[in-house]
Symmetry: C2
Subunit: 320 residues, 2 copies
Amino acid sequence: MKGLAMHIPTFDDMLAARGRIAHHVHRTPVLTSRMLNELSGAELFFKCENLQKAGAFKARGASNAVFGLSDEQAARGVATHSSGNHGTCLAYAAGRRGIPCTVVMPRTAPQAKKDAVRGYGARVVECEPSTTSREAVFAAVVAETGAEFVHPYNDPRVIAGQATCSAELIEDVAGLDAVIAPIGGGGMVSGCCLTLSNLAPKVKIYAAEPEQADDAARSFRAGRIIADDAPETVADGLKVPLKDLTWHFVKAHVTDILTASEEEIVAAMQLIWKRMKIVAEPSSAVPLATILKNRDTFAGKRVGVIITGGNVDLDRLPWN
Amino acid sequence: MKGLAMHIPTFDDMLAARGRIAHHVHRTPVLTSRMLNELSGAELFFKCENLQKAGAFKARGASNAVFGLSDEQAARGVATHSSGNHGTCLAYAAGRRGIPCTVVMPRTAPQAKKDAVRGYGARVVECEPSTTSREAVFAAVVAETGAEFVHPYNDPRVIAGQATCSAELIEDVAGLDAVIAPIGGGGMVSGCCLTLSNLAPKVKIYAAEPEQADDAARSFRAGRIIADDAPETVADGLKVPLKDLTWHFVKAHVTDILTASEEEIVAAMQLIWKRMKIVAEPSSAVPLATILKNRDTFAGKRVGVIITGGNVDLDRLPWN
């Protein structure tokens, strides 16, 4: 991807995405918990993208990319490299349009992830667990198929798709003071920036990140992208670095990036499961973890909290 | 409770309950899963009472009972015996009205259940784990306090409250062919009978029960109430027997009572967690288990499925 030449998604792109994906994604519910409000001192409104198609908000961006292709492009299909929710969601969207999809994944990726991609009718091509191998294998896939590359987050179509989430949230909950979402590559946070800066510029935007993968927080303070080298965290959706498009939005519109420890993330995840009765993945719990440790920032406020996904291995829960 | 003298709840009672509890319970969302539709061959609409206040549909009946009390009755409070969701939900409703609540529980009940009741401000009084002890302790509580007894299910106020659930369901989902709910004492199923026989008499009503606690299914076939002696099942909300009021509704309006094995219940529970991303208790999974094993009955039909509760010990999941 050539960053400097890339189209920066606009508010009109978000509106177009909304229409384009309306029949392919859920309008997810917003849940509340009296007990979590008492714990935090805030009024929390959880936008439940774990209940989204394919179990993650990434169904929005992937659907926008897939359904925005011309028939000619669509015939060649789409491809990406991802061992996480983007791969599954791109497979979902491609299956929905009935076009080919190839996902390059390390051979060491969990079998469940490979099965999920295949379950939607996509092809998994395995690479070695290194950047060099992934790039070589991916280049070969694109050369062979002519497939359209859909990056997990540094793609204007993807950001415009993710931006539809906060549009629904502010329609469903009046008078929000803030919205907080986890930050990995920054696709969801960029989507929030795009929508809220246009529709509700007084709503503050916070990002939440694991302490052990705090490259976005350090980038934010340094004023330039800093990428971690292979961070380790239970919040495995948040290990990837910011890229130019997402950095464009983050640096302009985010109020702060807050961090939480591994223990705080797991404790918040348990609270969400126990109190809200939803299956949320560790990444989804990082915002609540940071809200609970930054009481002064959020107490008395109406806060939208994005629960980003629910794809968890039930046989390997982090508290067992 | 004197069964023969008891008021049989009417459709007007359900309508009154709806107004009375509207500000005290959630209108819970209806979720769908493409994958579970494919597995079953049916169109399934899951009414998510696990997302209800206090984590179970029983918040409806308990709230109706509590908010229907006169001020004089309310001042003396409410009492029940329950180590399950009814105790927690009665405590929730009483806390909401700010009146005393006593729940008699065996001293062997899980600490988490006692904590949940106390967390809503109610008093736990322990008895020995026997019917004799429970009845003696409960009688002493009522004699001491003058509290109003709210039975977990054999109570017209409770049934009228549970009946509001299927009213919401048929408003949210047009053209249902059937509704299925788990059956223990029969409070939820009776509520479905009350509402659907009045509002949508063509909708078939099914009940689902563990094979290992199939007293309702045997009662249904025998034409009289048969109570099991201390059945054991992972679906611990479904061990209790039918009583006269619930039997009145079940025998008149239920099409069939289907059963599932322990293994089928746990497998269905895992499917719900994995595919729908919600935390549902084992009892809630019994309907899906019976749908999957009775494909001929449900294939091609639009089926409402009541997910009754989400109160699970996350440290003791049945597949670990």
